[in-house]
Symmetry: C2
Subunit: 226 residues, 2 copies
């Protein structure tokens, strides 16, 4: 699977996140028509991610957001109830959508080596498509309310555990060496994460998602293959 194949097959969009958000918050949102919510909420989410990447969520004022989205201050507050809530919902519904996608990716694959390859490759490709989301999840965790404070940690551990489980399965089947699964899982996560945290570095060097995935997978297999 190449990145181009991945991109055309997986049609993942912000609107999925919006639809999810809308269906669970019909009561709280002042706007009645679903298609209006989806349209403007998508703009709000995308613009928030963009501005957060540029100046950080905290430094972004709602007037900045208003100017960039083309929506008035009043209009913004028809869709969100507060700035804190905007931060929280991006984390909550974004992570949820991505988790669903990640889990679907290795579904049905049993051969451990193939499974690990697919998972790593898919993760890198997905984070390439949704780079702003992944970056946001890591960088904008400080001002989450008590209710959502643990969300970033949970998602970090979830991704890591998916790696760990694949390795354990491989070890049970006698395909992978007897390495420390916890630290190996953490290492794989760190290497996958570097792709979207340091995108500027890899862009500058002209390294494609495919090349990065190939390298990382080779790197890891040297360590865990018998």
């Amino acid at each position: 699977m190449t990145f181009d194949e991945f991109r055309t097959n997986r049609s993942i969009s912000v609107e999925d996140v919006c639809r999810n958000y809308y269906s669970e918050n019909k009561g709280k949102i002042k706007i009645k028509k679903e298609h209006v919510v989806i349209k403007n909420m998508s703009i709000i989410m995308n613009t928030t991610l963009k501005l957060s990447m540029r100046m950080g969520f905290d430094a972004m004022s709602l007037r900045d957001l208003s100017a960039e989205t083309g929506l008035s201050m009043g209009a913004l507050y028809s869709y969100i109830s507060s700035k804190d809530e905007l931060l929280a919902l991006l984390h909550r519904y974004g992570q949820k959508t991505i988790k669903k996608n990640l889990e679907a990716m290795v579904d049905g694959i049993t051969e451990p080596r193939k499974k690990l390859d697919t998972f790593i490759r898919s993760h890198i490709f997905l984070s390439e498509l949704l780079r702003e989301w992944f970056y946001f999840f890591f960088m904008e965790t400080k001002n989450l309310g008590k209710k959502n404070r643990l969300l970033p940690m949970e998602s970090e551990l979830m991704t890591e555990q998916m790696c760990t489980h694949i390795i354990e399965e491989g070890q049970a089947k006698g395909v992978f060496a007897d390495v420390r699964t916890d630290l190996t899982g953490a290492g794989i996560k760190a290497l996958m994460q570097d792709w979207y945290l340091k995108r500027w570095k890899y862009s500058r060097r002209g390294i494609t998602p495919d090349a990065y995935a190939d390298f990382i997978i080779g790197f890891i297999e040297k360590s865990i293959l018998l």
Copy 2:
């Protein structure tokens, strides 16, 4: 070298950073006595790092900083000229001090495998001692002025290049395999960085700096050793 040995041998402190800052900014600082500057500037720096880790530099108000340091608003402005400048100086003088320390660590070592081992181990140990600094360097880069915008990138590339060079030396001497040095260097950097970016994860699991260093070095050597 264990972490405990490292800790006792390397007496690195904030005051070094302060002294460096003071000697280059005597003109701008309103306080005359050096020992007063060192004392209070150390408090300001440490407190800023602490509050930034807790709530983010942007969300930290100077009144927060005033309350936590015990210095009045007016007193703060006797040491710094603006909040932006505080951010910039922490990056500038912090990075400078750490760079100096990092370079000294592999000084004199010629055997490639030993050199790589020492560099990785030292980096992990140093980031353990100065965890708040390393974390700050990575997380608080958004609102750096034009003059210092490239600083974080430069330091990222510098660390990476130190890895890359060691690997190239090893390849030239026929000790290391013919791997891609750029991506391997990037990978090592990512793995070292994970230690201080996800300290909570490793703390929770009771993984010591020594254990982490051992694992990472073993992990990498599997990939690059002939």
